[in-house]
């Protein structure tokens, strides 16, 4: 178990990076707490696998350090780092039984056979692999194989962190929740530091205490699922997290409100204070969940045209237009929505202001 400190770290696959565009991973400085569950979330090619490989020791970062509990492991090989990793597709030793698979890391480290046996039995019990211990690993289902990969990491009692590289990719949908639940359970039981790479926001948000959202080699936000939802630090986070994503409207600030096509939308105090000093294009961001539609004018409501309504079962998504701008609104299932015109109100506490894609205030 360990606290992971990524100190002023950056990585480029080129030997002599010329500018920011040459970096696969832009400089970052993070402390990941011991026992935390972290998810690295982002689209393909965003640098999350690069970051994972640096932590696991497959890559040495071009600059900066990786510290496990203040111990510098930047240049240590994978073998010496005491980490466990579960890969995208199951990696098992085909010719071995499940027991031998689990015992492999211990035997390689020269443990006595009776200690190996005791530890493997313990882990097999925890992972519910006891019944298949004597079977050949090759004949098992994908989720059982992934469990074995996880088990090979867990048998070492000194393991510092467990890394997951999109571990549910090849698992059947109906087994995904089962395996994910098992992972969560193990995490609660052992209090290990977990790092989970995924491009699926649902996986990230349900699994992790803290989510690291990345895009094009840059960490855009590190926060709890709630923070990502309520106050995305970057327009990309707003778009990427949530379904549908956040609405963004170009605006300018006038007094205590934002002006969008001449319509006044009231803002919170912190946003207003920050806006005074902000440079760059301003835009207003609000999630579909923090908007509401009404049939008749309310205090501060704005008239909008209703383009379409999608019924998604337990809620509806209304596509409306405020002047030129398309906006998505999440409407409760039981609320009737007028087909052409409606009144839109903004929840002031969750209406954010962005300057050049970054959150203000």
């Amino acid at each position: 178990m360990a606290r992971i400190h990524l100190k002023n770290m950056a990585h480029s696959y080129l030997p002599e990076p010329q500018g920011p565009q040459d970096y696969a991973l832009h400089p970052l400085d993070h402390v990941w707490e011991d026992g935390g569950a972290y998810a690295l979330l982002g689209p393909s090619g965003c640098g999350k696998t690069t970051l994972l490989n640096i932590i696991s020791g497959l890559l040495i970062p071009s600059q900066g350090q990786v510290l496990f509990d203040e111990r510098d492991v930047t240049r240590l090989p994978t073998k010496a780092r005491n980490i466990a990793q579960v890969f995208q597709f199951p990696v098992i030793y085909d010719t071995m039984s499940v027991f031998d698979n689990l015992a492999f890391p211990l035997r390689n480290r020269g443990f006595a056979e009776d200690r190996v046996r005791a530890r493997v039995d313990e882990i097999a019990d925890m992972l519910e692999l006891g019944a298949v211990l004597k079977k050949r690993a090759a004949g098992l289902t994908a989720d059982a194989k992934q469990t074995i990969s996880l088990g090979r990491g867990l048998v070492r009692s000194d393991v510092a962190a467990i890394l997951f590289d999109e571990p549910l990719t090849v698992i059947d949908p109906h087994l995904k929740w089962k395996l994910r639940r098992k992972l969560k359970q193990i995490h609660e039981q052992l209090k290990l530091t977990l790092v989970y790479v995924t491009h699926d926001q649902n996986e990230a948000l349900t699994f992790a205490d803290r989510v690291v959202v990345m895009q094009q080699g840059e960490v855009l936000q590190l926060g709890t699922p709630q923070e990502l939802f309520e106050a995305p630090a970057h327009t990309f986070v707003g778009h990427f997290i949530g379904s549908p994503g956040m609405n963004f409207l170009p605006c300018r600030v006038d007094g205590d409100a934002a002006l969008v096509d001449g319509q006044r939308i009231p803002l919170g105090d912190s946003a207003l204070a920050a806006a005074a000093a902000a440079a760059g294009e301003l835009s207003l961001g609000v999630r579909p969940e923090f908007l509401s539609l009404h049939d008749s004018p309310q205090a501060g409501s704005l008239p909008v045209a209703v383009d379409a309504i999608e019924d998604l079962g337990n809620y509806k998504i209304a596509s409306v237009r405020l002047g030129e701008h398309a906006i998505k609104v999440k409407v409760p299932e039981d609320q009737p929505v007028a087909v052409e015109r409606a009144q839109l109100t903004f929840n002031r506490d969750f209406t954010r202001l962005y300057a050049g894609d970054r959150l203000l205030g």
Binding site: L58, I83, V91, N108
Partner: protein, 287 residues
């Protein structure tokens, strides 16, 4: 399930039946025809039943040739398979050297059998061959024309030089197909180099190795051109393998009956060995 009577299906199968008939069944039947008759001249044929088979199976020279053949194939496999795996493991996996190694590896395989025989025949001569002269210079008494052991080693070396590349290329293809994650996992598990080979690479190479062993077994079991060019099966009968023996019988002495019977036995031996090997490997992976 209701069976539909449709005789048109036979028509569609006909081309294949004809092809197989002319390419395999009819030639084989000709051999079967020879093997049960004593043909004195085109007009005089005597049906002899299994007599040729009986004679063939009790022929001491054939037993000797079969023994030599089995020993030879075993030696070829014992050298080429481990050597091929070892070379494949040493080959680079990326960069310009990949193509260079591939081409160098493929070169020996492009050379016809009898040319390989000729190359080594000249190479091994003490008077005009580089290899033979070098050995003579080192004081080693090497002469494939008179020493059975030297002739054996030369024929073996020829085959290793000619065909190890095949094993290398097959194994190399198998090795590069192993996903990187396996090596990463092994590294995390603290596996030694040997453990990586034993538990990751070797199991993943199993399928290509089965093909390599079968191909090299069948080929080496039918070896003909190299010993024929080198010493014509000599010195004495030292390098007279089954094919040499068969050729002497069929074309040298024109004993078509015994030769045909022997051909069939030969064919069955190759088939039997291949089948046994294949079945054994399949059962191994199931248990």
């Amino acid at each position: 399930m209701n069976k539909v009577q449709n005789n048109k299906a036979w028509l569609l199968v006909l081309p294949v039946v004809l092809l197989v008939a002319f390419s395999a069944v009819i030639p084989l039947m000709t051999v079967v025809n020879y093997s049960v008759q004593d043909i004195l001249d085109p007009q005089t044929q005597v049906f002899v039943g299994t007599e040729w088979f009986y004679e063939t199976l009790h022929d001491r020279r054939l037993h000797d040739a079969l023994g030599r053949q089995i020993l030879y194939s075993a030696a070829v496999l014992a050298i080429e398979i481990p050597l091929g795996i070892a070379i494949a493991l040493c080959m680079p996996t990326r960069g310009i050297w990949v193509s260079v190694c591939m081409v160098l590896m493929a070169l020996p395989m492009l050379i016809p059998f009898n040319v390989v025989g000729t190359i080594w025949q000249i190479f091994g001569r003490a008077d005009i061959g580089l290899g033979g002269a070098a050995l003579a210079g080192l004081g080693i008494d090497y002469n494939y024309a008179s020493s059975p052991l030297d002739a054996w080693l030369t024929v073996l070396l020829m085959d290793v030089w000619h065909w190890t590349s095949l094993v290398v290329l097959l194994c190399y293809a198998g090795l590069v197909a192993i996903p990187e994650a396996y090596y990463q996992a092994a590294s995390i598990d603290g596996a030694s180099r040997w453990a990586v080979f034993r538990y990751i690479q070797l199991p993943k190479l199993k399928n290509v190795l089965v093909i390599a062993v079968l191909l090299r077994f069948m080929d080496s079991f039918m070896i003909y051109a190299e010993p024929f060019v080198l010493t014509g099966g000599g010195p004495g009968n030292a390098t007279t393998f089954l094919s040499q023996h068969l050729t002497k019988m069929a074309l040298g002495q024109f004993d078509l009956g015994p030769a045909a019977a022997f051909s069939l036995v030969y064919f069955l031996i190759v088939l039997l060995f291949s089948w046994l090997f294949y079945t054994a490997i399949n059962n191994m992976s199931k248990s």
